[in-house]
Symmetry: C2
């Protein structure tokens, strides 16, 4: 990468980081691009060379994050081991994904309605893909008798709800590490489905 | 109640209903008191005889709702029956509480940060009271050997997360009735804690 391209990438990382902080503190409606520019230490006109609008900033916040967690969950879903072992690994990867992106998850869940339609469609596709991974392993485990009979979609939604909700109460540097919560919830997820 | 008081109460109910719809569609930041006035069919000046600000409207939306669900959960917690039976009844009451107030739960979770500090404190007190009810029954069940050993606070948070999340995916008039979801989740809650 040329020095100039590297500098540009660096600047964009700073912009995204400042945006995340500002959106989380003030909400998207209240936050202004000026605030982002001030936080990064550049002027507003310069910011527009990097992003077209506040909505684009919002989209940038989530870019790559869900894809990464989705890839980890997909790998766990098609890995070796019994459906119970795979479901446990999937729940663990998902909880860690939420805990490692607390700020983005917070902003996203609050500001979903501010996303441009194309970005919203993308998010919905990713959410469906996530649910599908869980449903598939639940169906497989149920057909083997590892899991209780029941509505696999409802089971996936219950599990994802329990795991997503950690963003509301988890405090970094609190009494529980990310791993401790992820391990505990992975066990719970399997127990919730066990006969 | 005099006719005049009854008319006033009626008008206030209309205002709260219009607010709920508007806040849910547009978000609190975007929604204006004018919109509420238009929806109710009265002028803006008249609205201010009923409410002082948009924030007060937001507080009104939740008034009495959490208290009601909290009372139902408390009754189930201290009712007859084993800890498993009581936990099941509590989870059922809680899920029904969320499903019957979908619009308010939606607005609240998105707009919590717009609440005035005193209202926010009240909400946090109610959330803590809710968690405490669940924790108490979980501790009791664990000491009797009905539930697996584990962190009772984490167990309560997992359970409440799973149950609160229904507001994100439940579709009224969809394939599942409120009761069907509540029954299913009550079973899941108990299974999640069973050895």
């Amino acid at each position: 990468m040329s020095t100039r391209l590297a500098a540009r990438a660096d600047r964009e990382r700073q912009i995204v980081a400042a945006t995340r902080l500002l959106f989380d503190e003030q909400g998207v409606q209240e936050a202004a691009i000026d605030g982002v520019a001030r936080a990064v230490g550049i002027n507003k006109a310069l910011i527009y060379r990097h992003v077209a609008s506040k909505e684009e900033l919002l989209v940038r916040l989530f870019e790559g994050r869900t894809e990464k967690v989705l890839a980890e969950v997909a790998a766990a879903a098609s890995g070796a081991g019994s459906p119970r072992e795979r479901l446990s690994a999937m729940a663990r990867a998902y909880v860690l994904g939420v805990l490692r992106n607390l700020d983005s998850v917070h902003v996203y869940l609050r500001e979903e309605h501010s996303l441009p339609p194309s970005a919203l469609q993308q998010v919905h596709r990713e959410q469906k893909a996530m649910r599908d991974h869980f449903e598939r392993v639940i169906v497989e485990g149920t057909s083997r008798g590892d899991f209780v009979q029941g509505d696999p979609k409802l089971a996936a939604l219950a599990l994802l709800g329990m795991c997503t909700w950690v963003h509301r109460w988890y405090r970094p540097r609190g009494r529980l590490t990310e791993s401790a919560v992820a391990d505990d919830f992975a066990e719970r997820a399997v127990r919730m489905l066990s006969p």
